[in-house]
């Protein structure tokens, strides 16, 4: 251990003339930050003993700083006699706050500060401190540090090189400050691989086929559970086996973005605010590699008991959903049928199904355009003949009827129609989800590129 760090520091600081901060040292040697600070100090001491001035250090001082010379409005004379009361122009009546205020303002305010100092200025800086709570070496460099901001480069390198490490595990090793209440939010929307998930058949609500895609599954989970937390760990382990750490995040992202759109609509639905909101939350978060979440979750016990969780959730929600059980069943059946369909259509239909539930439950006008998405054929029978698709499909048709009060009410109802159209029809469905997913990622990339470019060169407006 001792050899390692001397060697590492000798190479990087002396030979390559790089800047080594305690953080980069701790990451490189996989040691605790405090140990790294000690290593830096040792190296600095030894090298300077051998050859004075070969290694320069920057120190970090934390403490309370002595206040500056009085800069208050009453001027310098107010501090002349420490204990004396200042003669104010107006007598300090209890009622008048102004003189009191000035008197209070005389007291020096100590400021807790964290200061980065080059070693040349160390003694000077120490003098400005009233009391020093901590002092340690921040970084080492071969020659004096000319520009303090070059230290930022160290941190950037760390984030670049060690981005793959999970901070929730690594913090113990490196000694980063950790909030014990923090837990990682799981990414519910895994990429839809064909992972067989055995979900217990909850009574009345879910005669689900075993091979459901996790995305749709989570939809189901969201539909049932009003108790938000349970569904998350429940569906998460299902998505976990299917989503390995290395699964491409962009695959997740398009799925999540799409979910987001319908989630927003669903969040307007009355009875469904909580689970939907939670969906949009979990899909909106950055997709971090799903690591050791189950241990961190307070309801970690659910990780292996997804069935129980589902049951529990279902039980809670069973009662209020009694009256609608029937229509739900119908929807489940549709969903089942859809499972056998192609991916894209199914995904859209998956969106459609829960949207339909929302639409039927409440008359939020916002849900209308969403439920119209369910124009995708639910039970589509398609035959391809001579380059034309024919068949029957389910379409949402609008019907305007006059109410008993004389109001015109527009209702959307599912109706079957037989259609005949040219081949490109299915392709349109495919491209629609594809383009929508491309947009967020492209927009993200463009935004990042532009932000990087627009800074210094904007000054040189000539070019």
């Amino acid at each position: 251990m001792a050899q390692e760090y001397t060697e590492y520091l000798a190479i990087n600081v002396l030979n390559e003339q790089q800047l080594v901060s305690y953080r980069s040292l701790s990451r490189a040697l996989k040691v605790h930050s405090n140990l790294a600070k000690q290593m830096l100090y040792e190296f600095h001491r030894k090298q300077n003993a051998k050859r004075p001035g070969s290694v320069h250090a920057t120190y970090l001082i934390t403490g309370t700083r002595r206040p500056e010379s009085p800069s208050q409005t009453n001027g310098a004379h107010s501090q002349e006699d420490g204990g004396d009361t200042v003669m104010q122009s107006s007598p300090p009546l209890p009622g008048s706050s102004a003189p009191q205020h000035e008197e209070d303002a005389e007291e020096p305010v100590s400021v807790r500060s964290v200061l980065l100092v080059k070693e040349e200025h160390l003694e000077q800086a120490k003098a400005t401190f009233e009391s020093i709570t901590g002092i340690h070496i921040y970084s080492l460099q071969a020659n004096g540090l000319s520009d303090v901001q070059s230290l930022t480069e160290c941190n950037r390198k760390i984030t670049a090189s060690y981005a793959s490490e999970d901070p929730l595990q690594a913090w113990k090793q490196y000694g980063t400050i950790q909030n014990p209440n923090v837990k990682r939010r799981t990414q519910r929307r895994g990429p839809p691989p064909p992972a067989p998930v055995a979900k217990a058949a909850e009574p009345k609500t879910k005669p689900l086929a075993p091979t459901t895609k996790p995305t749709v599954l989570e939809r189901q989970a969201s539909k049932e559970s009003k108790a938000s937390q349970e569904s998350k760990p429940a569906s998460k382990p299902t998505s976990k086996p299917s989503s390995a750490k290395a699964t491409p995040e962009p695959a997740k992202k398009p799925a999540t973005v799409k979910r987001q759109d319908s989630d927003i609509f669903k969040s307007f639905a009355k009875g469904r605010a909580k689970p939907k909101k939670q969906d949009s939350q979990s899909s909106a978060e950055a997709t971090t590699p799903a690591a050791a979440e189950p241990e961190d979750e307070p309801m970690g016990g659910f990780s292996d008991e997804d069935d129980d969780a589902e049951d529990g959730a279902a039980d809670i929600d069973e009662v209020p959903q009694e009256p609608e059980g029937k229509s739900k069943k119908e929807r489940e059946a549709d969903l089942q049928a859809m499972m056998d369909q192609e991916d894209e259509i199914m995904e859209d239909a998956a969106e459609a199904i829960p949207d339909k539930t929302a639409a039927e439950e409440d008359e939020g006008a916002i849900d209308r355009p969403v439920s119209r998405q369910a124009e995708e054929p639910a039970k589509e029978t398609v035959t391809v003949e001579n380059g034309r698709r024919r068949g029957r499909r389910r379409v949402m048709k609008k019907k305007t009827v006059k109410d008993e009060d004389g109001y015109l009410v527009t209702k959307e109802e599912a109706a079957w129609e037989s259609f005949s159209e040219d081949e490109p029809a299915p392709k349109k469905l495919k491209t629609a989800p594809a383009t929508s997913t491309n947009k967020p990622t492209a927009a993200g990339k463009k935004g990042a590129a532009k932000a990087g470019q627009g800074n210094i060169m904007s000054f040189f407006s000539k070019k």
Partner: protein, 221 residues
């Protein structure tokens, strides 16, 4: 960058960006102008210093455009940022060797460049990430160079010079942005004026190949 093919113009533009930032950094490091007149900015995802005075920026921009014009012609061998003392003696030179840039005729300035490897795959002409990383490293080295070099005497000033490849290509047409200078002979008063060269970095990213070093004139007194 993949969709848009790289032309010589792009390469030169990338280099001039870098040159601008390098000049600002050198001015900051060598304290030619008071360090308080610089503000912090970011370039290549790196913290750099930029001078705030409009005349300084204007001058630098003009100088860099003039260098760009010469670069497009393909006549430049080296670009130098020279620091003079008050007595007009060059104290230091920050050299950038650009002789390995691809050259093209005027007509071909906007033709996309292409390079193929031995087995026929396309090699990237200007790999952006790679290039940025190397620029970052060069700037970082330049920034720290201030500590290795001897402190400059008061009242030093700077200028930008180019060394051309061959004879007969000097830009002395009107308007004349450049002043022709005779190559300074070594003073043989008491032996040679020793020059010290400190390598900074070499950048090799696709077609962007340049080297950077610092030449220091020894103190002859």
């Amino acid at each position: 960058m993949a969709s848009e093919a790289t032309t010589l113009r792009n390469i030169v533009a990338a280099f001039t960006d870098f040159l601008t930032v390098a000049i600002h950094t050198i001015l900051y490091e060598r304290a030619i102008y008071p360090q308080t007149s610089f503000l912090s900015a970011r370039k290549y995802n790196f913290a750099v210093r930029q001078n705030r005075h409009p005349k300084v920026c204007g001058w630098i921009n003009d100088a860099v455009s003039a260098v760009e014009m010469e670069l497009l012609k393909g006549t430049v061998e080296r670009v130098a940022i020279v620091i003079f003392t008050k007595d007009n003696k060059p104290a230091e030179r920050f050299m950038l060797d650009v002789s390995r840039f691809p050259t093209a005729t005027l007509a071909d300035l906007d033709t996309p460049l292409e390079r193929k490897s031995a087995n026929g795959d396309n090699i990237s002409i200007l790999p952006k990430v790679d290039m940025e990383e190397q620029f970052r490293a060069t700037l970082s080295r330049l920034a720290n160079c201030g500590s290795t070099l001897r402190p400059l005497p008061e009242g030093s000033t700077f200028t930008v010079a180019i060394e051309l490849k061959g004879v007969g290509q000097a830009p002395i047409a009107h308007p004349q942005p450049w002043m022709p200078v005779e190559p300074t002979k070594q003073d043989d008063i008491d032996g040679r004026v020793q020059k010290r060269a400190v390598p900074v970095r070499a950048v090799a990213a696709g077609e962007m190949m340049l080297e950077c070093w610092i030449e220091e004139a020894a103190v002859s007194d």
